[in-house]
Symmetry: C2
Subunit: 147 residues, 2 copies
DNA sequence: GTTGTTGTTGCAAGGCCTTGCAATAAGCGA
DNA sequence: TCGCTTATTGCAAGGCCTTGCAACAACAAC
């Protein structure tokens, strides 16, 4: 897979090393496609090699995030979720804070609207990977309730 | 001040109680105008009354946040900052991730652009209290560097 | 003012994540 | 392949915040 090579290259570029532990974290993220918690990643890595420390998993995830290979998702429930970006393409998520629906938004859909916003707002903004709000269904219901 | 009364009313409305501890946290937030960390709030409350527990401060801040009287600011440095909203009016902040500049954005400036974005995006979104991005100065320098 | 109900507090324990450090091992050059 | 440099790991300790629980106290009713 391409992200392994990308990871290797980025490590080398910065004088860092590819260790079996780092490799395993990346492997685990592939297995747990979707949004994996640290707990899940740690459990999977541990099941493959008992001697990997939790702190190493945290450090590896931090590195992967810094490299832009992984994004952190915080739905506000105190559980951080990690998502492998490379196999999913460029995207964001929309999370409805009323019904809890989590929807994938392709960047190709999002960026034109965002560009327009930035031009009017005056700054280049970095949206969170998960954009929170109220979906149209819930909003319609909310309006009915008020009316 | 109006937020004390608002706090009282919201507590009463929900069958909750105004305790000296809660009162002191709100008082401390007034003293520490701007963006106060839990540490600062706890220190100030403690200096006034030694016997207030840290967990109570956390619980009070959670309540104030839930009531919308206080907002949490996370600049990504692992330090949560708390800001009293009522004395500052409706606003957001813009935080430049390159130079660290934190700028206040009045909602009256922000909302028209946001409304336009929402119409095009299709959902009602809730921006974080602090919007992150790159300011025009840093962006201009960045463009120079690339060119 | 007194009493009763029940929301709130302080304490201590626990969870989750980070950090300092000595031992280990990746990866480069010879 | 071997040795060296230094990034990385595992461990243990620590920090920060949350949580369960029994004692306490706010406040409503009388």
């Amino acid at each position: 897979m391409c992200c392994e090579q990308k990871f290797r290259d980025m490590l080398k570029e910065r004088g860092l090393r590819l260790t079996p532990q780092r490799d395993m974290v990346l492997w685990a993220m592939h297995q747990l496609s979707g949004h994996a918690t640290v707990e899940e990643i740690y459990a999977l890595v541990s099941s493959k090699s008992a001697a990997v420390d939790a702190s190493t998993v945290y450090r590896s995830l931090e590195l992967l995030t810094e490299f832009g290979l992984v994004s952190v998702i915080d739905l506000g429930d105190g559980q951080h979720r990690y998502e492998l970006l490379s196999i999913h393409g460029e995207h964001h998520h929309f999370y409805c804070t009323v019904c809890g629906k989590l929807e994938r938004i392709e960047d190709s859909e999002l960026l034109p609207a965002l560009g327009q916003f930035e031009r009017r707002f005056g700054y280049g903004i970095e949206l969170e990977h998960v954009i929170k709000g109220v979906c149209d269904v819930c909003r319609a219901q909310g309006i009915e309730e008020i009316a």
